[in-house]
Point group: C2
Chain length 197, copies 2
Amino acid sequence: MEINFDSYLIQTAGLPEKEAKTLYHNLQKKEYKKGAILLDKGAPCKHSFFVEKGLLRSYMLADDGKEHIIQFAPENWFIVDRSSVYFNDSSDSYIEAIEDTEVVLIDEEFFCQAKEISSVFNKFNDKLLHNHIRQMQKRINLLLGASAETRYLSFIKMYPDLLLRVPQWMIASYLGITPESLSRVRKELATKNFKPN
Amino acid sequence: MEINFDSYLIQTAGLPEKEAKTLYHNLQKKEYKKGAILLDKGAPCKHSFFVEKGLLRSYMLADDGKEHIIQFAPENWFIVDRSSVYFNDSSDSYIEAIEDTEVVLIDEEFFCQAKEISSVFNKFNDKLLHNHIRQMQKRINLLLGASAETRYLSFIKMYPDLLLRVPQWMIASYLGITPESLSRVRKELATKNFKPN
DNA sequence: CGTCGAATTGATGTCATTCAACTACAGTGG
DNA sequence: CCACTGTAGTTGAATGACATCAATTCGACG
């Protein structure tokens, strides 16, 4: 289950082994306990997090105090407040550990080095951005009109592995419905004898 | 009101004048009548559109046949199905002219040339992507819980210039509510003697 | 002037929220 | 080991916000 960032760079990003190792050695690793806050609203977000083990989430607070979950990040995923990092602004989101989590901190310096060392990395980074956009697009499309049930079903389809690791109320928050509603949706699906797995 | 892409490259993207002119001359321009389809679902999206004059929109069709508006693009904006262009896939969105519109077609070749000619362009492109993500994030946050009224007010705030150019039912579609609901929201705001301008 | 789509308005329906009560379970301290 | 507490999840009843359906008005355009 645990994934090292260096092997990620080689296998997924397609960097040559030597370069990947070099880059990897300059990076800082950190561990966080369940419930720990990795990024606080108002603080500048100075790096991306790559999750080697565990599970993170990012969320914003609405005016009425409710949490809106932006993203989950299990192993192999990046999580970051892009606005904050890129525009050097204070973040308007939080990042929190849902489980005990081990991350690699990826700062601007890393990106500069990586870009110099390898044009492959540039392309890969570009691809990540585009994927991110594509995924957000899908989510917007869902939020623009899909029923609670449809949203939940699409969540199951997209992130089946998260179903068992994320508490229900967080899934509800991600879907933009209340925990009570989600509970009812699940009950309804159960009577239709639908099985998630 | 009309904006040429070459001056955009110079002033907004920060390219040197000479390079901008060179790049610009290789580009193709097109005009579309109001109502014209620039990109059809299923067709591969082979280029971005830069709007020099007029107004475009992109939208997807939901399963129930309803349109979900993804984006508006007035002068000075890009519009594209990024998934389709980038992953060389068939598009799952439409692009349509809301007004008579003049666009510049920006294909892969342009990007390659631009990247070779100027590293400034690379950075600029990156910035565009990040802005796009930032803006989608805001929208998701709105859709996750804001009332019809709040959504509308935030739309007014973000795109005041579009208010008068976009038909109401399209704004409703963009906000994820029905035209009827939007009409009532506006009425409600009027009695509270709220003035958009 | 007549037509067609956009916008408004009213009556009614539906889905999700809200509020409250209750169960289940994990963690804490006596 | 058992009570105490807090959080997650479920369930029910009442409410509310938005959707739907239908009728009407408005406005642009041929």
